[in-house]
Symmetry: C2
Subunit: 278 residues, 2 copies
Amino acid sequence: MAVQRYVHGYRPQENQRLHDQAGALVDLLHHDTAYPSGSAVLEVGCGVGAQTITLAKRSPDARFTSIDVSAESIAEARRRIRGAGLTNVDFLRADVYALPFAAASFDHVFVCFVLEHLPRPADALAHLKALVRPGGTITVIEGDHGSAYFHPDSAAARAAIHCLIELQVAAGGNGLIGRQVYPLLVNSGFKNVRVTPRVVYVDSSRPDLVDGFTRRTFTAMVEGIREPAIAAGLLDPQRFDQGIRDLHRTTDADGVFSYTFFKGVGTKDTLREITDGQ
Amino acid sequence: MAVQRYVHGYRPQENQRLHDQAGALVDLLHHDTAYPSGSAVLEVGCGVGAQTITLAKRSPDARFTSIDVSAESIAEARRRIRGAGLTNVDFLRADVYALPFAAASFDHVFVCFVLEHLPRPADALAHLKALVRPGGTITVIEGDHGSAYFHPDSAAARAAIHCLIELQVAAGGNGLIGRQVYPLLVNSGFKNVRVTPRVVYVDSSRPDLVDGFTRRTFTAMVEGIREPAIAAGLLDPQRFDQGIRDLHRTTDADGVFSYTFFKGVGTKDTLREITDGQ
């Protein structure tokens, strides 16, 4: 994946958005992820470390190797992890399709908001499967932009969101990948695959999510692709801006916003199971 | 609501569909609904009793009054409840806008899959609020057809689902009402309103839901409006049938289907709170 193809870009306000998102979603996405003492965990596509902090805090006696294709993102992630006083993470710049690790060298692999940006997610999963020891697990978390709906409904808002989906396709990614986590893991040969939806349901009784998710995560994400969407002729500026206003409208007292992430966990066959299966 | 405006109709196979749906969803929708011994509960729009059986079983010492606008549906519901050996339900034919009960005569009101069919859901909630004693609760459960998405994605399937949404609008209802449960309850004056999404996430690791929900509940529901949708010119027969095939395609081993219901609970002010508020 070429760095410049990352649809959300690398601006400072985007880095802040990623951390806002992570804060709003920590419990929803990560409450059931904890790795045993001494286990070696590979985090793929750590970006600016938005999830790394949560992982490293929740599993203080596991050892994380967090990789990303962007050296700048890794520098930022390293700063944040050190700033949080965490010492159980090693960072490395690497490409997910050409990882410098021996086969079966990790107990667990963690992949969050990465497959959506990859042209060949199935290939990436095959590479990652080779790095997991038999009996180890993979955890995949992805959003699905087609899962977003809201009240009041708005065709302009839906059109603006669709720009993001189209730009992601043009960049070789897939903004609707959340719903495909199950078949991707199964087709990659992982066993006991269990996928669960994680709904971010937001109404005005949940002001933290109104601000932290609807406004500063999702709407900010769509707003972030205004220039490329207009430059690509996907939507005219007036219509795009109406869509953004309508997304903000869903943060009013009578507004509602819903978005779903999908979390999947699969296990690599143990040697015994592999033998039995032959 | 005139009987003939009920979008799903009253055919025997539709009654079976409603019971299949109820069976597949009992835990998801109703696990957190139980009424105290001796409480008087009004069930609005009981239909053929698909939810009534669950309610009456789960709260054996509460007394239910279950009403519906259709005498035929009530006859069927009564048969089913008696067949299940339950004796804590009284049935009554009545219109939700003109209910023959004194103010504050119920401890709790339960409304499931009803508001979506009503032209004036806010008026209905105002009527129902008058029937609840101060401190009592209302529970509202509604689906949202705009929450359906699936893999493989299909424009034809989305178009067929959209026919259902349009027919429901034409009949005076609203198939996207799930996302509006929160503002409807708040605007009706209920307090402490809490809405939670209930996602029916289906992949092939959950064969009961593949059959009980994707196939026999949702796809059957869309299939059920084939004739009126085509008669209304909303979609040509070939396209509609392609949409149905594509919905069935989501039940294959690599298919995924997701749909979300919304459950809201609100409390009527106690007399003290009402006084304090003045």
